[in-house]
């Protein structure tokens, strides 16, 4: 049974502004679900609706089979970690963690035991009697997580918990969260971020939100390898996937596409004879492009290079004047600037999109 089930959930402000609509999602116990999407896509709003901080204006939210739409936040069995930590500044670390349990009138020994357990997991033992202002950013975030742990919720909600940390601390805390999840395999977590690295590394499944709805749900590698639409294809992966417009010239087990930029592409995605002549976008990830002497997928002049050491990014002009194509070649290739290059890709690594949707047959 799904731990958390969203059915046709929608959010409308003041009766007119649509923020989210038709959100359907089943989350199983023990999953770490990551909501990603561009700014303003409603991912935080969705999380706050699950938390009960925003009213659900359509559809139902169930947690363990019970409809939660009108249940007060504290009784939903959820705990939330805020981006700004939201620690109570006038309470010590211990009191911060004890607050919910004191409100619930739990006996003191039980509170102490819960705090001790959380402090041990998060290595906060030495800071229990400090005020939040005497803690570093990473420590504050750990207290915020500790405040959730002591409540032993069914579902943990994380709202961009790492955005306020500096880069080095972000990586360290990310690994800590992954470890924490590993140590609590039965806890369900929902994690909102705009950082796709966090999404890819932490998630058991990623939910990509765009255009007021869900663009795709899948494991990180599913989203990377088989994006269902152009949005997901370009959102996951950095730099974004190249899209080259063209027209299907041969259908069958493999598909041949004549590209507007010149050259042709062969994809292992099968097509029907009826799709002959269909206008499509051929998607190819920068890291799947290689230099070739054989028949190229694409030929152009390198306009600019960015050498990152381990890889070099080539910005290649398109003969038809469209968006530049980006290729990511291993090693250092600064000498390629201004040079005409021939690039090719493994036919199995090509993606085909018609009207924004992938032509790849869905698995299962």
């Amino acid at each position: 049974m799904a731990e958390l089930k969203l059915t046709n959930v929608a959010k409308t402000y003041a009766g007119s502004v649509d923020v989210l609509r038709d959100i359907n999602l089943d989350i199983a116990q023990g999953e770490l679900i990551v909501f990603v999407g561009p700014s303003g896509c409603g991912k935080s709003t969705l999380l706050r609706m699950i938390a009960g901080l925003e009213k659900i204006t359509g559809g139902t939210l169930e947690i363990e089979g019970d409809v939660m739409n009108d249940v007060p936040p504290a009784q939903r069995g959820i705990a939330m970690v805020f981006q700004s930590y939201a620690l109570y500044p006038h309470l010590t670390v211990r009191e911060n963690m004890a607050f919910a349990l004191k409100i619930a009138k739990k006996p003191k020994p039980e509170i102490d035991a819960a705090i001790e357990r959380a402090a041990k997991i998060l290595q906060l033992d030495d800071y229990l009697d400090r005020l939040p202002k005497a803690l570093s950013g990473g420590q504050r975030q750990r207290v915020a997580i500790g405040r959730s742990i002591v409540r032993d919720p069914k579902v943990y909600l994380f709202d961009e918990p790492l955005s306020n940390l500096d880069a080095a601390l972000r990586v360290a805390t990310r690994i800590e969260i992954a470890r924490l999840k590993e140590s609590m395999p039965d806890s369900t977590m929902i994690y909102v971020t705009h950082d796709q690295v966090e999404a890819m590394t932490l998630a058991s499944r990623i939910v990509v939100l765009a255009n007021k709805g869900i663009a795709q749900v899948g494991t990180p590698l599913e989203l990377y390898e088989t994006p269902e639409n152009e949005f997901v294809a370009q959102f996951i992966g950095s730099p974004a996937m190249n899209l080259l417009p063209g027209e299907i010239t041969a259908t069958g087990e493999t598909t041949t596409i004549a590209l507007e930029a010149g050259g042709s592409a062969v994809s292992t995605i099968p097509t029907q004879p009826s799709q002959q002549g269909l206008r499509v976008n051929v998607g190819v990830r920068p890291e799947d492009l290689v230099q070739t002497d054989g028949p190229p997928l694409f030929e152009g002049t390198v306009d600019f290079t960015e050498a990152l050491g381990e890889v070099t990014l080539l910005y290649v002009d398109r003969p038809d004047g469209g968006d530049q194509l980006i290729a990511k070649l291993p090693g250092i290739h600064k000498d390629l600037r201004g040079v005409a290059v021939k690039l090719a890709a493994d036919p199995a690594k090509l993606h085909l999109f018609a009207n924004g949707q992938s032509l790849r047959p869905k698995v299962g």
Partner: protein
Amino acid sequence: MNPVMLGLITIVTGVVGCIGYFFLSNLILDAVLPARGPNAGRNINRANLIRPWLFLLPALTALSLYLAYPVIETLRLSLLDRVQGGGYVWAGFDNYSQMLGEPKFWEAMRNNLLWLIVVPAAATALGLLVAQLTDRIAWGNIAKSLIFMPMAISFVGASVIWKLVYDARPEGSDQIGVLNALYVWMSGEGPQTWLTFPFWNNFFLMVVLIWIQTGFAMVILSAALRGIPEETVEAAILDGANPFQVFFRIKVPQIKNTILVVWTTITVTVLKVFDIVFAMTNGQWETQVLANYMYDKMFRANDWGVGSAAAMVVMLLVTPILVWNVRNARREMR
């Protein structure tokens, strides 16, 4: 000359004088220490050292003339006795011991203490309550404006308004005082002269100051409440706190320092309270307070010695609170 004209001339002279002073003094400073030439760097540094004092000078002069000097002069007068026909004789602490022997002084002390306990507490609590209740509602700002309005009324004006509220007309005639009108209508008994009931009449006077100061407390506390991070409130809601718990255990502790500043600011006002008592009862019926006692001694009994001694007592009571308040406010700003 017409007093209105005189007033206008004073205002214009004052404002123009101020602008002229700041403009000219800075001009002179820049002329004496020009920010160019071979010593430009040194001149700029020196000018920067002097400039703050140019701006401070008028305030410092006015403060020492109208504040520091009167304090010293009052202290001196409190230790002297005036003799008939002019001149002073040394009295030592005679004035003080005479004052301490007067029941009216102790009545004033008791009443001041009563004011001190009731008014700041009531005004702060009501201000906090209003600030919280009007925070999220559409007409909250209108309510706030109405509650803030008494701040714009002078103490004497407010006293006149409330004197009318407490007004008593002979039995049988129409009661123009709201309180008596209600009382007569509800109890069916005759009107009461509220301000003449010892002890309780103190509270009737305090209502006036509470009415005025609630608006002040509300404005400051409202701003403080807005400054509380919304997430801490949301976190508390998720932690299961009900609205009362959110208010008392999350919001109030976070604005504790502001509450204390408001409280002490009102406390200082209360210690100095004069106009309300002067205008409403003039200290009769056991409503005397220190400031009015001082006025009585100084200007009615013409006893400058005891009057000055009373002034020193008021100052001694106010000073520690003021020092603490200023310190607190400075810590708040950091």
